[in-house]
């Protein structure tokens, strides 16, 4: 799975901005291992200068930086660049409010430091996969132990069929397609229920809980559901390395 990114996507240019040199080096290494090219910056100001004259496929931003902080940089990118690259916000701030603030401000994903290298790699690839996705529709897809048949709307796990309702299947499918990407509650409700208003808030929680139990989405099985409180959910792939 480690080389999945370059195999699928070819190489991409990733900008990394953090005031800790250890962190930028660590991230650059991960990016390069995935077959991409990394450019590192030690503060927001330098990053924005580079963004004016250079094109990147992804920006990994530290929130708390000298010069220009993460949120200000995202705002600047939205206002200045005609085609702003996706952003992964990376920070030591862990409060629920901070995470939803960052995602609502326009960040495409959010990683809490310190995070495992494999997780970071998966998240980077998830973002890059989306931005270059050809949107090809496969009737059958395999994700680790799980095989999804989109015609029959069934999921088999280790060859055994798991009984899911139509909504549960759609939800599972949505998560697998967007694995390692954080999906907002609104996005999920719009996609599955085509609404955001009339749905009781608990309905979504309970559907996700059922999918999680029925498919036994645990790290032992290579996946986990991660709840971003106040924002949404993410299906993470677990590298049992």
């Amino acid at each position: 799975m480690a080389l999945q990114g370059s195999e699928v996507l070819g190489f991409m240019r990733v900008a990394i901005a953090d005031d800790e040199i250890d962190v930028t080096q660590f991230l650059a290494k991960i990016v390069e291992e995935q077959g991409h090219v990394a450019a590192t910056f030690s503060d927001g100001q330098m990053l924005t200068q580079a963004l004016v004259r250079d094109t990147f496929d992804l920006v990994i931003l530290d929130w708390m930086m000298p010069g220009k902080d993460g949120l200000a940089t995202i705002k600047w990118m939205d206002e200045t660049l005609t085609e702003a690259p996706p952003v992964i916000m990376m920070t030591n701030r862990t409060a629920k409010q901070d995470i939803s603030d960052a995602l609502n401000a326009g960040a495409d994903d959010y990683i809490t430091k310190p995070e495992d290298r494999n997780v970071i790699a998966a998240r980077i690839n998830a973002i890059l996969r989306r931005t270059s996705s050809s949107g090809a529709f496969e009737t059958k897809a395999t994700y680790g132990k799980y095989e999804l048949d989109r015609i029959d709307q069934t999921v088999t796990m280790d060859g055994k069929t798991v009984s899911l309702t139509a909504k549960e299947f759609e939800l599972a499918d949505l998560f697998f397609r967007n694995r390692d990407r954080t999906l907002s509650r609104n996005y999920i409700m719009e996609t599955i229920w085509r609404t955001t208003v009339s749905l009781a808030t608990r309905t979504l929680d309970m559907h996700i809980s059922r999918v999680r139990s029925k498919l036994d989405l645990t790290p032992d099985n290579g996946f986990r559901i991660f709840t971003v409180f106040g924002y949404g959910y993410r299906l993470e792939t677990i590298d049992k390395g």
Partner: protein, 758 residues
């Protein structure tokens, strides 16, 4: 009893007593006499003129001396009629009752003379009660005369009074036995072709009328003897109504009448007055009793209503005005031929003014007495009643005491406003509608203008920032709702002012002695400094959290590819633990000062998330974690960050103390206790259990332990954190050892129902 109620009762009593008094007066002779005096006074202004077509033929003293002693022989009258007949009078009434036949045979002569006259009337008289037990005796002219005459009419005078004021045009001696018109009524009809007079037709038989008397002696009169002995010009008699009657004093047919002008009035003149009144329709009709009663009582109540509104001085003036109005109305009515006796009404008015004045003074005096001694008893002021011993009477003393009470209140008000203006914070007293009735100058300073008559909401409009405006108005609106419960603390609301400072608005209700909600007191406290300190503290916590985590993150990141795997993992684990402790510390500090703000969280999923987070650690120690939801998707109201960390600490602890290859079972259950449901998270490990010594203080903050064997090692802050979070969520945490080894940590949280979630 309140003063109002007492005065109302007194008022009604006075009205009732006065009304009864009037009813009594209407039936009392004394008032009759009074009314008569008034009547005479009023009537003397408008006395009618004598009818020139009436001629009185007087049997006077001169006639007696010239013709002879009474009774005269009947031929004398016959002679008179002989004399009258050629002169052609309209009618002749002989007011002499000839009830017994004479011995001298004059009867026949008279009968013939009467029969000769075309229009001659004779009197009859009723004597009640009659003799021998009869109801009445009828005194009739002798039969022959009666048949010869045109008609016979009664001549009874109304003798209710010593003075002849009234007359009945119709006499019914025994109720319903027959109607006898008055002699004058019959004469009146000779000129109307038999049609009854208005006064006769419009009233019941027996009704009395007041006779309007012309000046005494103003009717044309001729002496009987002159008429008999001399040649009287026929013009004097032609077409006249001749009334022949006795005027001589010795004959006894003279009666006292009102304004007698110096003597008694002969019956003939009284009849002449009656006939005159009939002809001019000038009889005066007394008002009927029910109307008189109403008219007498009505002014009393009108005046009593006026008393309620007027000051004593104006009440006196209006009483006098009422008296005048009654007298004038009585006079005006009399002018229109109606008599309203004003005596009873006047008596009522004379009574109620002093009565009301007395009762009102008494009530007010009692009230002042009571209130002043209440104030005295409440001890707010110096003793009042004993202050002015020299004041002359009780009311004077009370007034003096009231005066000093008012002085005290003035001082008190002054004191209150002084205290108010010296208060360090803006403060306003408002009435129930929110209008400011008292405030200190800090309020004016704050809004930069006068507050007079402003509403508290207008103050809010000026001071509060738009963001907080609606919430502050909601708080103000709640004043009335809360007022019912005086125990209500009313809470407070915090808002930012437009110029940047931060305020807390508080309210306390003003409750009167009688438990009524009169208004509210609003206080504004400037907490800008406090708010600033809070913000700074929060920033410090944020920085602390970040600055403690950042180097640890850097350590972990820099371990990449260095050292051997085992050493790297050890360093990384300890770096993470440092980080978690720092976070726990910061979180606990923050929780101590922030309000709980929970989200609707599916508890089983949160536990799974945490378990998944700790999977790498469990994997490393080859421990399996099983999460089982037996609560059927129970939700809790929770702060997800804090609750996740608390459960994380518990599971981390469990992993740490689990032997390699063992299981950790986590179960979420629902426990129903009455209407309330709790959810529990039970984390069961298969470790060595918790030592009995440490168990009681396992969750106390900073409990440290050096002993390697003991369970709580390294969990000092972690477990204290768990308890802090559990309590903050309205739940609890406990730990116990299972019989067959291992420990259970049970976190209990109240379940959030579907309704409370939204």
């Amino acid at each position: 009893m309140s003063l109002r109620l007492r005065l109302a009762v007194e008022w009604l009593l006075i009205g009732g007593i006065a009304s009864l008094l009037v009813i009594f007066a209407l039936n009392w002779r004394g008032i009759d006499d009074f009314d008569n005096i008034i009547y005479d006074q009023i009537a003397s202004f408008g006395r009618p003129d004598a009818d020139p077509d009436i001629l009185i033929v007087a049997i006077d003293d001169r006639s007696l001396s010239e013709i002879g002693k009474w009774p005269w022989p009947r031929n004398i009258h016959a002679e008179l009629f002989e004399k009258l007949k050629p002169a052609n009078p309209n009618s002749v009434a002989l007011d002499v009752i000839i009830s017994e036949p004479s011995a001298d045979g004059g009867d026949e002569l008279l009968t013939d003379a009467i029969a000769n006259m075309p229009s001659i009337f004779l009197p009859l008289h009723f004597i009640t009660p009659g003799s021998d037990g009869r109801d009445y005796d009828t005194q009739l002219p002798i039969e022959k005369l009666r048949q010869a005459a045109t008609a016979t009419g009664h001549v009874n005078l109304s003798d209710r009074d010593d003075v002849i004021r009234r007359a009945s045009l119709c006499f019914d001696p025994q109720n319903g036995s027959g109607k006898w018109p008055h002699l004058m009524e019959l004469i009146y009809r000779t000129r109307t072709k038999g049609k009854a007079s208005r006064a006769f037709a419009d009233s019941k038989c027996g009704s009395e009328f007041i006779v309007p008397y012309a000046k005494r002696g103003s009717f044309a009169t001729i002496s009987y003897t002159d008429l008999v002995s001399t040649n009287v010009p026929p013009d004097l008699i032609r077409n006249k109504d001749v009334i022949i009657g006795a005027t001589a004093t010795g004959l006894g047919d003279s009666h006292p009448v009102p304004f007698a002008d110096g003597g008694l009035m002969p019956g003939a003149e009284i009849m002449a007055n009656m006939l005159s009144a009939l002809k001019s329709d000038g009889f005066i009709r007394p008002l009927g009793e029910p109307i008189t009663l109403v008219m007498s009582i009505l002014p009393i109540w009108l005046l009593l209503f006026a008393f309620l509104r007027f000051s004593p001085k104006r009440a006196l003036l209006s009483s006098i005005a009422f008296i005048l109005v009654i007298l004038v109305s009585s006079a005006v009515a009399l002018n229109y031929g109606i008599w309203f006796p004003p005596g009873a009404a006047l008596a009522g008015i004379f009574i109620i003014y002093p009565l009301w004045g007395w009762r009102r003074l008494q009530a007010v005096s009692d009230f002042m007495d009571r209130e002043l001694s209440n104030i005295d008893a409440s001890g707010d002021m110096a003793p009042l009643l004993h202050k002015e011993p020299r004041a002359n009477d009780i009311v004077g003393r009370q007034s003096a005491a009231l005066g000093s009470a008012i002085d005290h209140i003035r001082d008190l008000r002054r004191f209150v406003s002084d205290v108010l203006s010296d208060l360090p914070d803006p403060m306003a007293v408002v009435d129930r509608k929110g209008t400011i009735i008292l405030s200190n100058n800090l309020v004016e300073e704050r809004i930069g203008g006068k507050v007079d008559g402003m509403n508290i909401t207008e103050i809010a409009d000026i001071i509060v920032t738009p963001a907080h405006h609606a919430a502050v108005l909601d708080y103000i609106d709640a004043a009335d709702a809360n007022s019912a419960d005086t125990e209500d603390e009313n809470g407070f609301i915090r808002f930012n002012a437009q110029e940047g400072s931060t305020f807390v608005m508080r309210r306390s209700p003003v409750i009167s002695d009688k438990e009524r909600h009169l208004g509210d007191i609003y206080y504004l406290t400037d907490i800008s400094a406090l708010a600033e300190a809070e913000t700074q503290r929060e920033e410090v916590l944020q920085l602390l959290s970040h600055d403690m985590r950042a180097p640890q993150s850097a350590i972990i990141a820099s371990l990449e590819g260095k050292l051997d795997t085992a050493a790297r993992k050890r360093i990384e684990r300890n770096a993470r633990r440092t980080m978690r402790l720092a976070q726990d510390f910061v979180d606990m500090a923050r929780m101590a000062e922030t309000e709980f703000a929970g989200d609707d969280i599916l508890l089983a999923d949160l536990v799974r998330d945490v378990a998944d987070n700790l999977w790498p650690l469990a994997e490393e120690r080859q421990v399996k974690i099983h999460v089982e939801d037996r609560s059927n998707s129970g939700f809790v109201l929770a702060e997800p960050d804090a609750l996740s960390r608390a459960i994380s600490n518990l599971i981390d602890n469990a992993i740490k103390f689990s032997p390699e290859g063992s299981n950790i079972d986590i179960a979420i259950r629902r426990i129903e206790i009455g209407r309330q449901c709790d959810l529990t998270v039970t984390i069961s490990d298969n470790g060595s259990g918790i030592s009995e010594e440490i168990l009681p203080r396992l969750f106390s903050r900073f409990s440290t332990d050096d002993n390697e064997k003991r369970r709580a090692k390294g969990a000092g802050l972690g477990l204290a954190y768990v308890e802090t979070v559990a309590v903050r969520h309205g739940g609890s945490i406990r730990a116990e050892n299972r019989k067959n080894g291992g420990a259970d940590f049970i976190l209990m949280l109240p379940e959030a129902s579907e309704e409370t979630a939204d």
